[in-house]
């Protein structure tokens, strides 16, 4: 299993993601600096969270135009898998690799809390295809712009194609289940071929061993397993 993690100036979950992947695979992922316009063949390219380029202009807008993202696009065009988490999700949207937008949270405040996610089993997502049916995952979020929105037509298409992979749901946490006002409680979506995924929750922060949950590890392990299956 070969994984690459893309790093932009302002990325701040790159190390956490590398540690998480290394814990699961036993191999350190390749690091790709934003100025690189190519990288060695990998099974999965991960765009981690953070504040790439300070989130100036719009979240993810500058990073989406970095040379490394062209390489990510090429990788995806060859059928390669891509996972964007939090700011990484924003970058994938800005790069046009996934439909819709992420706007400011409903309450207009940054939100950092535990969330519970319903895994949509009829989804075309390869990432979640190995998770048990009806699985619910406890994984935290931490973001200011995680409020997913798409126009009615796009949304209907996403739902019809099974491109919604993760939805916020009740799971004993305090406060509303949907932390940011995302339409249809959407927490994560995939591309039409199911191999490009964007999600707001941070699986690398739910790796057990001191974290509140080990469900992020479960998610990442199942995804890596499914991607090489």
């Amino acid at each position: 299993m070969r994984v690459a993690v893309i790093i932009f100036p302002g990325s701040n979950c790159d190390r956490d993601m590398m540690v998480a992947i290394e814990q699961i695979t036993g191999r350190r992922p390749a690091l790709v600096w934003h100025k690189q316009d190519s990288f060695e063949a990998v099974d999965l390219a991960i765009v981690p969270g953070g504040f790439s380029f300070g989130d100036y202009l719009r979240c993810g807008a500058l990073a989406a135009r970095a040379p490394a993202m062209e390489a990510v696009q090429d990788h995806a065009a060859r059928g390669g898998a891509v996972l964007g988490v939090c700011n990484g999700f924003q970058i994938l949207l800005e790069a046009g690799m996934l439909p819709g937008v992420l706007v400011r949270n409903r309450d207009l405040r940054f939100v950092c809390r535990e969330t519970c996610l319903q895994v949509e089993h009829d989804s075309s997502s390869v990432f979640t295809s190995h998770l048990p049916e009806g699985a619910k995952l406890h994984i935290p979020v931490a973001h200011n712009e995680g409020n997913y929105f798409a126009e009615a037509e796009t949304l209907a298409e996403l739902e019809a194609n099974g491109q919604v992979a993760l939805r916020y749901t009740e799971g004993g946490q305090q406060g509303p289940a949907n932390p940011n006002g995302a339409v249809n409680d959407i927490a994560g979506i995939v591309s039409a071929n199911g191999r490009v995924m964007g999600m707001m929750p941070h699986p690398e922060r739910a790796m057990g061993a001191g974290h509140h949950s080990a469900d992020g590890r479960l998610f990442l392990s199942a995804a890596l397993e499914a991607l090489v299956a």
Partner: protein, 735 residues
């Protein structure tokens, strides 16, 4: 100013210098200073930079121990945590800027304290904040809370350092002068600590980071003056933070340090380029020469005075190994940051500045530092307050109802609305964040964890400064202890009013004495800190807040415990008190403040020996696996602590009274040196306590029903407990 560009006393007075100080400057220079030179003297001799009023008392604090690698005097304190690792930490205030412009004031406070930590070669791993706002219903409070919290989150979240804890108070004494104290903790290799003393005459002095603008000019002087109605017009002197540049600067500096190119480094904090260059040169016993035309600026026609006094953020000054200059430049180019050699280290003992090809400043360094005034200001303690008897304060009624009222007050309500705006788990090493006694942050890729807390009870300090100073340390020590960690060292943030008033000076002197005695008793020396004086508005001082930030260590984080009641069938034990359930110290307590509305009494005494005995015993029991949950008893007393244990967990608690009714003194008294613990082995625990000479008594047990059951009263469900407790702050914030 006269025709020759020489300054007059009136100019010095405008910069906050006294007549004596002005005379001393002229004596040391043998002439009148020019504008730039006077600006440098006034900044270096400001209260903020020189500690002129507090130094006399700060010197009395214990600052050394075997585990102290660096005490006060550097950018941050450094302690040994074993295995070749060190914890680096400091707390610092940004009170005045945060009142004028809450978002930027708080954000740059966070940025500044982070720079203090990574300047030492440490990667920051945790942030905490001690915040004090005016009354919850005061017209400005909502705006200030909202801005400060967003600013703290705005900087910390973006730079990617978790904000894991802190404290928030509301009190009318802060209506016109809030307190924003930010603490940062970092980790470094203990043999790779970087210091500020310049070395090697001829070595290049490099300016790195953001460009210099006109923001924050003379901020250190503003921070050393009282507030008035005109303060709002000082908005232009508040600096603007850029956490993105801060992140790049942090990564570039750490990379440069790892490459072995840095000989000395100092961040440009208060008094910017002035204090960084003066401190680096004077600590090295050397001199420095800089060409200000080479300083990267973002505004046109900046004068030498403006460049030297600007407090633009995200800047560093360093002396590098000339042979590594190329490597250093490449690292900064990689991170797209300015890297500019602007001068060199000299052996002249002087600070020489060039501007437009002319000498803009040529002054000896020694007077700036050594002759900085030190005052032994008059101290006049207020008369001790009488202890108020419980009977004077008690309002009859079921304890459960009183408890709910207290939990729904701004003093004790949930701070969730605040801490959910902070990223508390970026870096993926946060074991316990806000909501417990101390935060626990794992030392990356090890089993060790740091325990971190900030504490102070200004009400107690105002009533009795010595006791209040002790109590702040004792409470911090208890919070660390209750997790199972060993408290190691302290950073302090002394927030007071105008030190020229003897009664304010008495607060400072007394609380430092109390703090010193407690630090001595606990073996937790003070390794860094900050003093913020003149916290007054129109002549009225704030409640004194000598805030303690404490860091501890637990060798195996899996042995740490939290406050949550999670398992039914365990025994609830009160540690540090005997079986008598009929009394307690209500005088000056939260109960007195909220229920009796009379907080004029004397605060609870602090018995340092008892604190140590009880705490050391508890820590031993936690390490031995005998304790399932532990919570220190502080604001609101025993029942508030019990309610917090229930709200944090998945089980409930039942508490028994002796004769039917719960005594308010026992339930809400704030006697010190006490903890509530849950254990599955009560007989063993009580026997061990007896053997250790520590008082302990069974007071109840954990139950499966998620509720707090007080004998003789209706059970209080989890929903009821959380109800107002959780909604009060959001309601205040939405108005």
């Amino acid at each position: 100013m006269n025709g020759k560009g020489e300054m007059q006393f009136e100019d010095a007075a405008r910069m906050g210098l006294s007549e004596d100080e002005w005379a001393l400057i002229q004596k040391r220079l043998g002439r009148r200073p020019n504008l730039c030179e006077l600006g440098i003297f006034s900044a270096m001799w400001s209260e903020h930079c020189s500690y002129k009023s507090s130094k006399r008392w700060l010197k009395t604090l214990p600052v050394s121990a075997d585990h102290v690698i660096q005490g006060p005097g550097e950018n941050a304190g450094v302690i040994d945590i074993g295995d070749g690792q060190a914890a680096v930490f400091k707390i610092e205030s940004h009170n005045h800027p945060s009142f004028i412009e809450p978002y930027q004031g708080a954000a740059t406070g966070v940025g500044g304290i982070l720079r203090d930590v990574f300047t030492m070669g440490a990667r920051p791993v945790a942030l905490l904040n001690a915040l004090r706002f005016g009354a919850a219903d005061h017209a400005k409070t909502r705006h200030l809370v909202s801005g400060v919290v967003a600013g703290i989150g705005g900087y910390g979240n973006c730079i990617g350092i978790p904000t894991v804890g802190g404290e928030v108070n509301f009190d009318a004494s802060y209506n016109g002068n809030i307190l924003v104290n930010a603490m940062a903790v970092g980790l470094a290799a203990s043999d790779r600590i970087f210091y500020s003393a310049a070395t090697g005459p001829g070595n290049p002095v490099i300016y790195v980071g953001a460009k210099t603008g006109r923001d924050g000019i003379h901020g250190a002087t503003m921070a050393s003056a009282e507030f008035s109605d005109e303060t709002e017009s000082k908005r232009p002197t508040v600096q603007v933070g850029d956490p993105f540049t801060g992140k790049l600067l942090m990564e570039a500096c750490l990379e440069l340090m790892a490459a072995g190119a840095v000989l000395a480094i100092q961040d440009m904090g208060a008094a910017g380029l002035t204090s960084s260059s003066v401190e680096m040169a004077s600590k090295g016993g050397l001199g420095m020469e800089m060409d200000l035309d080479l300083v990267p600026v973002r505004e046109e026609n900046m004068s030498a005075y403006e460049i030297m006094l600007s407090e633009s953020q995200e800047r560093m000054l360093m002396v590098i190994d000339p042979e590594q200059a190329q490597t250093a430049r490449q690292i900064f180019e990689k991170w797209d940051l300015d890297f500019m050699p602007i001068g060199k280290v000299t052996d002249s003992g002087r600070l020489v500045l060039l501007k437009d090809g002319q000498t803009a400043c040529d002054i000896p360094l020694a007077p700036l530092v050594e002759d900085a005034p030190e005052y032994d200001r008059p101290v006049e303690p207020v008369a001790p307050r009488p202890v108020q008897a419980a009977e004077e304060l008690i309002r009859p009624g079921p304890a459960g109802e009183i408890l709910l009222e207290m939990l729904a007050s701004p003093d004790l309500c949930s701070r969730r609305w605040i801490w959910e705006q902070y990223d508390s788990h970026v870096m993926a090493d946060t074991i316990a964040g806000s909501g417990g006694d101390a935060a626990l942050v794992r030392v990356h890729r090890t089993d060790k964890a740091l325990a971190i807390t900030t504490d102070c009870t200004p009400r107690f300090v105002e009533a009795d400064p010595v006791t209040g100073g002790m109590q702040a340390v004792a409470e911090a020590w208890r919070n660390i202890t209750a997790t199972g960690a060993t408290p190691l060292a302290v950073t302090n943030n002394l927030n007071f009013g105008n030190p020229e008033k003897p009664e304010i000076m008495a607060q400072l002197a007394g609380s430092v004495q109390g703090m010193g005695a407690a630090c001595e008793a606990f073996g937790t020396p003070v390794v860094s800190g900050n003093v913020s004086l003149y916290n007054e508005t129109d002549g009225k001082a704030i409640r004194p807040a000598p805030v303690i930030g404490m860091v501890g260590l637990i060798e195996d984080w899996q042995k740490a415990v939290g406050i949550a009641a999670n398992e039914p069938g365990q025994t609830l034990v009160l540690l540090g008190a005997g079986p008598d359930k009929t009394d307690g110290w209500l005088s000056c307590s939260t109960y007195a403040r909220l229920i009796a509305k009379d907080e004029a009494g004397a605060p609870p005494p602090v018995d340092l020996a008892a604190e140590k005995a009880v705490g050391d015993f508890l820590r031993g029991q936690i390490r031995a696996g005998q304790i399932a949950a532990a919570h220190d008893i502080s604001d609101g007393g025993l029942l508030v602590a019990a309610a917090e244990m229930v709200m944090a967990g998945t089980a409930g608690l039942a508490i028994q009274a002796d004769n039917g009714e719960i005594d308010h003194g026992w339930a809400f008294g704030e006697d010190q040196a006490r903890y509530l613990v849950l254990t599955g082995q009560p007989d063993q625990l009580l026997a061990a306590a007896e053997a250790a000479g520590v008082k302990a008594s069974r007071i109840g047990q954990s139950i499966s029903e998620q509720a707090l059951k007080l004998s003789g009263e209706n059970p209080i469900s989890m929903t009821e407990l959380r109800g107002k407790h959780e909604t009060v702050l959001p309601e205040i914030m939405t108005g």
